[in-house]
């Protein structure tokens, strides 16, 4: 097990290193460097201004030397300074990580609270009206784009109940009411897709498990149906659901970018979007690296959770 964890962690580090190379190169290799693109937006820059800006950002040095400086700093928690605000990228990220992690965790919790009971119900009552209704809503959840849902929800809430999400983030442990008021609806919108995918997976996986011999044995022994499902079937049916959560986590994090933007929430997602719109490349690099780190770590945990869910799984 320990060897497996070490190997997976090393693989994760390799992926992060590759992500850092890709994003660092993208900004520099493509036509027009960051400085020109940046300064071009304001006014026609003179060669002196361009040269000074390049020097300031270290863009006149060889590519590898630039990368070495950046990655050494990144390893020590220094991701450079924002091209626009001149503030350290790490500080900008740290200020906003709390909100985005709250939003991501709440989205998963909300999605699971919706998906698991409905998925189980759908499987147990296969091919009944409730199954069809649940499946229809699942496909609908997959098809409604989060940006549309968010736009419609925020506007109609503002019109009908005169509610707009509070600005200024408070962590759950400090002010639960405010935190939920601020993030519950965005979390519902982000979680809708995950809920739909997980519900479908819970249903199909549970149907598969319910056909197994050990379930027949449990029923033959006279175990109550509820106990058969909760104690015998659900845990085994949960492995593909966890896999799906792992796969969908990336989409969920992407959703935070759009929903934070629409709900004016100051998270890493909206920071990334601002950076993209203002072409703040150092900030883009930092935000991409942040998202990649979260995904790599999540995937590691998803892999490790298999052994807990199914003790037959042994890692080599």
């Amino acid at each position: 097990m320990r060897t497996y964890v070490v190997r997976r962690a090393l693989n994760g580090l390799l992926v992060l290193w590759l992500v850092s190379i890709v994003i660092f190169s993208l900004v520099r290799i493509l036509p027009g460097d960051a400085v020109i693109m940046q300064l071009d937006q304001a006014a026609a820059p003179t060669p002196e201004i361009l040269s000074r800006a390049r020097q300031e950002l270290g863009l006149e040095r060889p590519f590898l030397a630039q990368y070495r400086t950046w990655i050494t700093g990144a390893v020590h928690g220094d991701l450079g300074r924002s091209l626009i605000t001149r503030r350290p990228v790490m500080n900008e990220l740290l200020k906003r990580i709390n909100l985005t992690s709250h939003l991501a965790v709440m989205s998963i919790v909300v999605a699971m609270l919706i998906a698991l009971p409905i998925g189980v119900l759908s499987a147990v009552k296969q091919d009944t009206a409730s199954d069809y209704i649940a499946r229809f809503f699942a496909v609908l959840g997959l098809s409604l784009p989060d940006f549309w849902l968010a736009t419609v929800v925020i506007t109609f809430l503002a019109i009908w109940v005169q509610w707009i999400p509070p600005i200024g983030f408070a962590p759950l442990w400090e002010d639960p009411a405010r935190c939920l008021g601020q993030l519950l609806i965005p979390a519902l919108i982000i979680g809708a897709r995950l809920a739909a995918v997980s519900m479908r997976m819970t249903r199909s996986s549970l149907l598969e498990v319910l056909r197994q011999d050990y379930i027949r044995t449990a029923r033959a022994k006279g175990t109550r149906e509820q106990a058969v499902i909760v104690r015998h079937a659900l845990k085994n049916a949960f492995i593909p659901v966890v896999t799906v959560i792992g796969q969908q986590f990336s989409v969920l994090l992407g959703g935070t970018v759009i929903v934070e933007f629409i709900f004016l929430q100051p998270g890493v997602g909206s920071l990334m979007l601002d950076a993209v719109l203002l072409r703040d490349y150092t900030l883009i690099q930092g935000a991409v690296l942040f998202f990649a780190t979260v995904i790599v770590v999540t995937n590691l945990f998803v892999d490790l959770s298999y052994a807990w869910l199914d003790p037959r799984i042994r890692y080599r």
Binding site: N11, L14, V15, L16, L18, V19, V22, I23, L26, V27, L30, V139, L140, L142, S143, L144, P145, F147, W148, T151, V152, T155, A158, I159, S204, L207, S250, V251, L253, G254, G255, V257, I258, F261, M272, L273, V276, L277, R279, I284, A287, V288, F291, A292, I295, V296
Partner: protein
């Protein structure tokens, strides 16, 4: 020919939702192709009233069934023309992304070894970045254009497709017909093209169908965020974000119609993907 129709009818009866979805998608194709004929007005034209002023934000009427936008352009015509952009972006990006993903998956799965490792680390790298974040980052660097959107979405599609193809190739390789082809002296490329590829076609078709819907959503999301096809080209995402979002309180139809258009098309692609998966995946066939 009659046999083909009979088979289509049989499939439609087995999967009615899939058949309805296929009809909706066919409708989308017809609307996109015949846009100049079907659109009641020029989508770029500022419609003027008798005093020569633009008919701004006119609520739906018989003259303007979906109303007009803040510049006086006909929303229905813009939605009809917007179908073209959605379809072009969807088809082109899925075609490029699927082709790239299939080639990478075939090479990676069939030859394994060092090349597989290199390709898979590349796939890991791309998949470690959320699709929309990757698309935003690349679009900010490449700049806004239809071609760039297509390339960016293809880049998001390719890694996942290559994973699915690789997994299927690894399974197909275990079959004895591959050993037989090797024993007969067939070249690796011939084995891949003649024996492996036909067996990975079903999962590719399913994943490509679902991706068509997702590609349309990504394009709309990029347009919504201001990084899609530049104005004044009518796109569903841009209609929703600009005029739609700003005027949702006073003119909700501006956001509702393009939003419904996106949702119906994506719903159709998702349901068609489901139907194809049920029909083509033997493991799920009995369910």
């Amino acid at each position: 020919m009659r046999d083909a129709w009979a088979e289509v009818w049989l499939l439609a009866r087995r999967k009615p939702l899939g058949a309805v979805s296929a009809m909706i998608i066919l409708g989308l194709v017809v609307v996109a192709v015949l846009a100049p004929v079907l659109a009641p007005r020029d989508p770029y034209l500022f419609n003027l009233n008798e005093r020569g002023l633009p008919i701004r934000m006119q609520a739906p009427t018989t003259t303007f069934p979906f109303g007009t936008d803040p510049l006086g352009r006909d929303v229905l015509s813009r939605i009809i023309y917007g179908a073209r952009i959605s379809l072009i972006v969807g088809l082109a990006s899925v075609l490029i992304g699927t082709l790239l993903g299939t080639v990478l998956g075939l090479v990676s799965g069939y030859w394994e070894g060092g090349l597989d490792q290199i390709i898979q680390r590349g796939v890991d790298t791309t998949m470690a970045i959320p699709g929309i974040v990757l698309a935003l980052a690349v679009m900010s660097i490449l700049g806004q254009s239809l071609t760039n959107i297509i390339l960016v979405i293809a880049l998001v599609i390719a890694p996942g497709t290559s994973r699915v193809v690789r997994g299927t190739v690894l399974a197909v390789k275990q079959h004895t017909f591959i050993d037989a082809a090797q024993a007969l002296g067939a070249s690796p490329w011939r084995i891949v093209a003649r024996h492996v590829l036909p067996n990975v076609f079903a999962p590719i078709l399913v994943i490509a169908t679902v991706w068509l819907g997702n590609a349309i959503v990504i394009e709309a999301a990029l347009s919504f965020l201001g990084l899609g096809t530049p104005p004044p080209t009518p796109t569903w995402g841009a209609m929703l974000s600009g005029e739609g979002r700003r005027n949702l309180e006073t003119a909700p139809y501006l956001a509702i119609f393009p939003g419904v258009a996106i949702s119906i098309v994506v719903l159709a692609f998702n349901m068609l993907g489901d139907a194809l998966r049920d029909l083509l995946d033997p493991r799920l066939r009995s369910r």
